[in-house]
Symmetry: D2
Subunit: 424 residues, 4 copies
């Protein structure tokens, strides 16, 4: 395996991409609004997957969806398994060259969007708000998808000039940091030379881009089920094995593990469901645990303590413990050479007027599993924040964003893609 070298930007090409992106803006807005109106929850993005796949297939991309994309071991998917979701779309250029991957996330959130007029919420005022009760694109993934489609269209239009392969990764279930791991495990990052991930908003204003964001929180999320034995609580409680008592003790023990001299350590038991009737010793308890740390190293040190707490407490109460990893993300900082290169491309492009340095995102993002997978094999990876003013915060029922970011995002990220694929 050799280490990828980033080609020097070709200013003319970058500016050309920026001009095409500008011209494409009405189409980008239309795509985004259609997706916004038809949101789907994580692992259930069947229609969204079909929509993006149909579009890029028409542009000449090879398409794979469902099992070849996500395999069968998907974190946090429902017991009956995910819908036919996830898409890998590849455009192979005639000449050999590098493989560039960009990732866009398909899923929406279990939030009911403001859907009445007179509240000042633009999607509702203009009639393109969510058509699906209780589900909403409230994080901006609709924008991410539109940007990816725009880049696909521009690259397909100048196919003759490019070399190598453009791979679009349409990932299910980013919320809860669930989907990335499945795609990494299917090997879709193994041969990637350059990987580009991005998010809009996150507090960065319109016209500004963060090329070296920091503060991605490492996280693991577990779903735990304790299995005991039921008993009539009045007649023979001693014959029961009380799963709820075990879960209560585990919860208290887990919270005590968060105390640390290291930064950003958190342990949260966020949900618990146990028992069936007041007169029965509860024989099953389910609870969900989220771990976080600012540094991967600290999360790795915390994890075995959490496992020991859960299994030891189960043993203490003579329960069986079933621990399932349902979400994961890592820490990440873009490498210095990648940041310098991105800055050069950004200057050529002019799409964003300003840059902000070492912007602290304070969120978990499972694209970090992809960036690490690429970097581990010598590829180059970066994750960027594309600034966009927000009338209301992410994950709120009034979320929206300045759609100006769509064209700018296509211009900048598409410019980077063009630089790599046009260098052959």
């Amino acid at each position: 395996m050799t280490t990828v070298t980033l080609p020097a930007p070709n200013p003319a090409l970058v500016r050309s991409v920026a001009e095409q992106a500008q011209a494409l803006t009405p189409q980008l807005v239309q795509w985004r609004r259609h997706l916004h109106a038809h949101p789907e929850l994580g692992w259930q993005e069947a229609a969204t997957t079909a929509y993006v796949a149909r579009h890029v297939e028409a542009l000449g991309f090879d398409i794979k969806t469902g099992a070849p994309v996500i395999g069968s071991k998907t974190l946090g998917a429902p017991a009956e398994g995910p819908a036919h979701t996830g898409c890998i779309a590849e455009l192979h250029f005639d000449r050999p060259g590098p493989t560039v991957a960009i990732r866009a996330d398909l899923d929406a959130l279990p939030i009911h969007e403001v859907d009445t007029q007179g509240q000042g919420h633009r999607p509702a005022e203009e009639g393109w708000h969510s058509q699906h009760t209780g589900v909403m694109h409230a994080c901006g993934h609709d924008g991410h998808l539109a940007i990816a489609l725009g880049i696909a269209q521009i690259m397909a239009a100048q196919k003759a000039l490019l070399c190598g392969t453009l791979r679009l990764i349409f990932q299910p279930a980013e919320e809860g940091t669930r989907g990335a791991r499945a795609i990494v495990e299917q090997g879709w990052l193994d041969d990637v030379d350059v990987f580009l991930g991005f998010h809009i908003g996150l507090g960065v204003p319109s016209d500004t881009v963060a090329l070296d964001p920091v503060g991605f929180l490492a996280t693991r999320k577990y779903s735990v089920t304790y299995h005991g034995a039921p008993a009539h609580a009045g007649r023979a409680p001693e014959t029961g094995r009380n799963a709820l008592l075990g879960a209560c003790q585990a919860t208290l023990g887990l919270h005590a593990l968060a105390q640390s001299g290291q930064p950003g350590i958190r342990v949260n038991v966020g949900t618990m469901h146990a028992g069936q009737a007041l007169n029965i010793v509860p024989d099953e308890a389910r609870f969900g645990v989220e771990l976080r740390a600012e540094r991967q190293h600290d999360l790795d040190a915390l994890d075995p303590r959490v496992q020991a707490l859960i299994t030891g407490t189960a043993a203490a109460h003579q329960l069986e413990a079933d621990i399932r990893l349902i979400g994961e993300a890592r820490d990440w900082e873009n490498p210095a050479d990648m940041v310098a290169w991105a800055r050069e491309v950004a200057q050529c492009s002019g799409a964003f007027r300003d840059t902000v340095s070492r912007y602290d995102v304070r969120v978990s993002e499972d694209a970090t599993l992809m960036t690490h997978a690429v970097a581990a094999r010598g590829g180059k990876a970066a994750y960027m924040v594309l600034g966009a003013d927000l009338p209301s915060g992410h994950h709120t029922a009034e979320f929206d964003f300045d759609e100006g970011v769509l064209g700018k995002g296509v211009a900048l990220v598409g410019g980077m893609v063009g630089v790599v694929l046009g260098a052959g």
Copy 2:
């Protein structure tokens, strides 16, 4: 207030009732099987109420249903309130005389009855198993209702010979010991001279009756909700008030309260539901608690300790605690004079061949609220167990009972009713 005197049994009358009961048996079986096929859960017994009300109204009873029967403060009813359920049916005889009340319970259980042939379950083999998915008369209340209807029919048939009033109490929501309290609070036991409650089966074999059962467990059941404050578990957990942590501590503390030198003390937290997402500090937790004691006095001593545990733990975690009583039953033993009188009637009747003395039921039964209400005002109250062989235990999906108990029950309990009402 005067103390009621039990009239000496008139053997001829008792035997006459027994003969009529015998003749009525095919009808009793038909009623029971119709009710068995159409079970309804507690507080939702609208169709069952209508069925029994229609029948006894045709016999000349005055009918009251819904609010006049159960009022508005019903334990453990859903937030939207109970269906139109519960019935008081009264037959007023021409001559003045005592008021006799009998109670039958309307509700079924959330159990899915065996519904395929070849399993040896008679209701399924013969096609009169539950038509309502997941709901089943698995305790015998269908039999109780048939017996009450039978008594009503016989008493109505010889109206001219009787005096006073016969009151049928069709009670909702006996399961979970929820329904009796509402009816007592509406005053329906206040003027009762003689109260008769009964249950079939409970381990007593066919042809045997328990006239002085013991071991009714006093119980109280609470639904507790802790309200705290949500917070992002990663960014600012210190701004949350964690309802789940409080509920876990309360659960552990409550279970420790069961240790006692007194008999039959139990504390069970049977259910818990808390939280909405792994990355949110849970701001609400609901849990259900059941207390039991063999003796009312011990339950009364335990109760304030339970209250203190729940409210103190809430204060410890800066939560609001909402504690709702959702079920209640008391201890009970039939008074000696009532037992002696019942034995005389039983001998005249001959319906049951054997009696079992001081049969230990080890269950909670909210008719005990009614027996205490009657006894407190000088009335006479008894609760009896009418023996019936069972192919499978109460509260199982294969429950059924020897339908011979229907005619015998009408004969015995109807005989008692006849003795009181015919003595004028």
Copy 3:
């Protein structure tokens, strides 16, 4: 192994022993008062052992003390080991015959006896109260020792008439049910044909004897130490392994195990000591646990749950658990033939005017380990309560007893000894 046959009582012999006991009473009182004034705590009874050993050695008994009596594995002894305590004294008669063992306990309690005049406490009024600050014979073991010495003296006096062997077992550390196990493990009960244990008082009045007491509670007592790792609680708490947190969780979990449908189940964590400074993560926690049940079978079922709770909780917190059994007693009822035989002897003796049947003691007594050991090999064993009025309860600073029990105890128990040894 053959089953021992109890010889029919010889009334003349029994009456003779009773007369000698009567004559010996002033001596019995003197012994008891000397012992009362010089109490020693469990496992520290060096002077008491020497006192009784010297006396019976002078009567011709063979003496063993210390290690041959108690071995090296003594429950609940201090880390530096017990003092030179415990005595087995044997009188071998010339003719072969059965081995009869009686047991008396050596230890006193950590109670400061009332030691001023004018309080109505007879030992202080008369000047024979405890000379050892904070230590007191507050359970009556001083009386048990005097009775054993009296029996030894009477049997030695008529050596020529007897056969077999009389074995006196002077046991250390009965309080906390610690000492009996060591003596059983040394084999001192293995060849015993008839074993007689006894306690004075326990609520049985003067002149009454309980020959078939019931309600001996099975118990096990554990001392648990959790070992973790210390850490500076401010700088690096995550490097510690918190033994106190583990001990707190174990305590709460253990108390929840007491809830049972079986009689007399108890789990009590009675002591806890942990930590050294407020700014250090506690790396060691010690706690003591007592289990009880009315029936041995239930204790045996509870014990593995307790062990699992303690070791599982240790694993949960990554601690080492050191669990030491420090006390043990079993349930016990005298066998019917032994009770019938004892009743015969008691009638011949006339020492106690009344008997009380199936007296419920509600205490734990480690002589039950001896009775079981004897019975398991075909021997006959009995434990009796010798009635004595008490001005204040056992284990109080004002405890005393009616010394009339001393002569009566020698008469009755000595009569039984005489019957067995005189039958050859």
Copy 4:
């Protein structure tokens, strides 16, 4: 209240003090070694107080010791109260002028000093190690006292040149942050114009001084006692009120409070002692809690949550809670003008070759209560770290320090004192 103005340093005076300090070094070493050999624990520093008081009294200082210094409400003192400890020594110069206070701490630690030769521990090699078993000056307070005595001697020697008042505050019980509060409450800081506190070592090397140290951790330390009711754990556990169960729940609840997005939040239950016997429901439990935060504001927000947790848990278990504050310190940063002034004096003095900026101490120090008290009334306060190489860390049995710091400390701190008192 007026704000104090710091006088410009007089270089000649500062250098003169430095020269006198240099000459005094053999005496400083002798004082330090005497004190090192005679350490006393916090609140028990009777001999140490007498030693320093006698010396400065001979120099003409007015002396107050015991109650006028520390009052009666002393944090964390034994129940029988502190020994005759603590000293305020004042030298009043003839001309009016400012009041300068310096603080030195009297107490040693419960550590057994290495006391054998051949271990490389200089105090033992040279024979001036601790003469008091299990007590040791292992933090450097002996050095602090010697420095204060040296400053006293130099200022007394040039009494004619100075104005105002020099106040030496010899504080008991710095370890555990216990003693400062008592002195502040007696008003000894109310009229102070310039306050100077200092510590040797703390990781700062010889020849270096930290004039603007940061990272003083705000802390509060509580001793909590829960009082319940005892009961026989076998016979009637329900009559007890279990203080140990309450303490265990409080411990688990308290540790969960440490999870926070704010820096340096810690909650540690460092000690627990409960119960008296295995068969008694524990009626008393004592535990010690330490809270920390990097910022006073966060500690102030945490404190009421801790109080609620402790009192609510007590209420939950029907216990009485006795919460005693036994230690307290605040955050602190020297004000910018004070740092600039100190830097000027340090340059004139030349005692320390280097300075280290914003040195992060990561400790709690109760002199911060004094600095805040002075600053709150318009006075000037600073706390400095005087560098000294250490062969072994603070609070270890091999602790010692480079005694070169003694002369340098007198030179620098004495220079500052001289500048203020000589400016009149």
